[in-house]
């Protein structure tokens, strides 16, 4: 260092003196605790207002027999107080439980298929090959397509005179005119296909990032020890991917249970109730039958069920939050 150059001390008039040590006063803005609170306060307030408030309103209404058609503001619902008869009704309502079961069926089948497909496709994209970037981008497009539009596209796709039947006709060499969406079983298949189509890319992305993130040296170490590809897959990749797989399944499961847009645009829950998921069921109760307090009770029941499920599902998610990736 150049010993000839010395830095002059900062003159008092050049700079606001920081040397004067300030003590903390009541509600000092610079206190870290105050800072922390003010960072999270807006979020907490909004959460309370837009989540807690409606939630309470929902509990409140679900305990009455109020609906908009009976007149009066929702705040006046206490005039129709009926001590939770709605909940008894929900428990007796077969359609409710059927819709719930159907939702889990769709979610279960779709998510399993998405996982297997996603993992398989991820292996295809693991190494570099010419044109990979283009194929990769094309692979991602479905998950970015607005679900409502996707619902419409698949509605087109499964029409009796749509492209799917045309392709099948070409393959079997004679006209094939199945009205997919008018048949109980095929409508369900159509809904699941649409769901798988939209969300396999996400599963593919997650699995690919998991595979890419696998520690290279551990794979090399296994190679050096003479392990074959299947041995590496069985003993190293699967166990190491486990946390990521769990997270992917949990998150996709969570989202799949909420399915509404696509089904609504493809089948509106039909034919009859064949593809009626829990969201569509509630939509129908609230807006076609206009039974709001009953819908609120159903919503509360679902909330409780979902919360319990979610709490179990979220547990693996909580712990590996920091370890994964």
């Amino acid at each position: 260092m150049d010993s000839n150059v010395a830095i002059p001390a900062v003159q008092e008039e050049q700079v606001k003196p920081a040397a004067r040590l300030r003590r903390r006063r009541f509600l000092d803005m610079s206190d870290v605790r105050f800072f922390t609170i003010s960072l999270t306060a807006p979020a907490q307030y909004v959460l309370l207002f837009i989540i807690m408030f409606p939630l309470l309103a929902e509990v409140y209404i679900s305990l009455t027999a109020w609906t908009p058609t009976r007149g009066g503001d929702w705040t006046q619902a206490y005039r129709f107080w009926d001590w939770g008869r709605n909940y008894v009704e929900v428990f007796r309502d077969l359609a409710f439980w059927q819709a719930l079961g159907r939702t889990f069926l769709i979610a279960g089948v779709a998510v399993s298929l998405e996982f297997l497909l996603g993992l398989g496709i991820a292996f295809l994209f693991l190494d570099e090959f010419p044109g990979k970037r283009v194929f990769y981008a094309l692979m991602l497009v479905p998950m970015m397509i607005v679900p409502a539009v996707a619902g419409y596209v698949f509605w087109l796709f499964f029409q009796s005179n749509g492209p799917l039947n045309a392709i099948i006709s070409l393959l079997i060499g004679q006209p094939f005119t199945l009205t997919w969406l008018a048949n109980d079983v095929t409508a369900m298949i159509a809904v699941i296909v649409a769901e798988v189509w939209e969300w396999t890319p996400l599963m593919f992305l997650i699995m690919l990032s998991g595979l890419v993130g696998l520690p290279e040296d551990q794979m090399r170490a296994a190679t050096m020890l003479g392990a074959t590809f299947w041995q590496k897959f069985r003993y190293l990749m699967l166990p190491m991917l486990k946390p990521i797989i769990i997270i992917a399944l949990v998150i996709r499961g969570m989202e799949a249970v909420k399915i509404f847009d696509m089904v609504y645009l493809m089948t509106q829950g039909g034919p009859a109730q064949a593809t009626e998921t829990i969201s569509i069921y509630m939509y129908k109760i609230a807006f076609q039958q206009v039974r709001w307090s009953y819908a609120a009770a159903a919503a509360m029941t679902i909330l409780v069920i979902m919360t319990i499920l979610a709490s179990y599902a979220l547990r693996p998610l909580q712990a590996p939050q920091r370890e994964v990736a």
Partner: protein, 367 residues
Amino acid sequence: MASVRLENLRKEFGSVVAVKELNLHFPDKKFAAILGPSGCGKTTTMNMIAGLETPTRGSIYFDDRRMNDVPPGKRDVGFVFQNYAIFTHMTVAENIGFGLKIRGVDEATIRREVGQIAELLELTDMLNVNAGRLSVNDMQKVALGRSMIVKPRIFLLDEPFSNLDAAFRAYMRGELKRIQREIGQTMIYVTHDQVEAMSMADNIAVMDFGVLQQFGTPDEIYNQPVNLFVANFIGSPNMNFIPCYFRSEDGKGYLVQKRGNARILLDDRRRQLLEQHPGNQDLIWGARPEHLTLHSEPSRSEYLRATVRFLEPLGPKTVVHLELGDQDTIKVIAHPSYREKAGTVQWIEINPKYLHVFDAKTGFAIR
């Protein structure tokens, strides 16, 4: 057990040449080290021996068999990675036994072999511990054990100690050397730490910019460095280098300092050598700090006059930084109780036996 021979080995990554025409022969059952700063191509060389990288040109021989086209799993090479590459989802025992498990060895044999290895490495107490929970120090041992259990012909270690704390590193240096002697395998050890290479290896290959600089025993590397790079890289504190030129007066040869007037009298052999050297006006002489002695009186005429600038007391010794001539700094190792003030004039004695002379242009040592 095998010797490793590299012939004209070259590796390019795109336009970058990582290793240039490398010729090396690591003898059987010896401990060899590849030493160099980061990015010198030492790890690439290691990966090529292991088969993790394919050489652009040249051949690799184990004993007399060409190994270029043998896949890594079949080369019978043990590899210890810098970050250990421990399988964190397995226990220590499962880690060590992995190599046997994938070879289809039965459980009982695996357990016995794992037990033996664990004994050797003092891991017996933690065989059932999850490997992800181990300390870095223990991970390192597990990585060693995992490679050892399949009894490879050659052991490759890629900076295995770089993440360890200093005390454990010093301990493991001795341990690894002991283990190598015990199992008698060929070991090739990559490191950027000259202390590790010097203390453990039988042979050291010093590399820089993908080029082999010198290959020899630690003693040769330390006392007869072939060029400035090797001389500077080995030794801590590093060698002193003073730019100088050759002058011959009354039949005597001198090295005269460029930024100052310190003169060193040369013996006849050196004088003749330098007289014939075409670049003898542009030289650098070098001497290791421990080969210099400080005197307070110029009792002999060939002592060099220098002024103390500051001291670095290190406990067992003190490094004295002195100013020689106008701008050259020279370090001398002195007794721990040495406490002269800055500005004191001291006289430096140079042991001619340990004087190195380099050509400043080419960097090569003139011997």
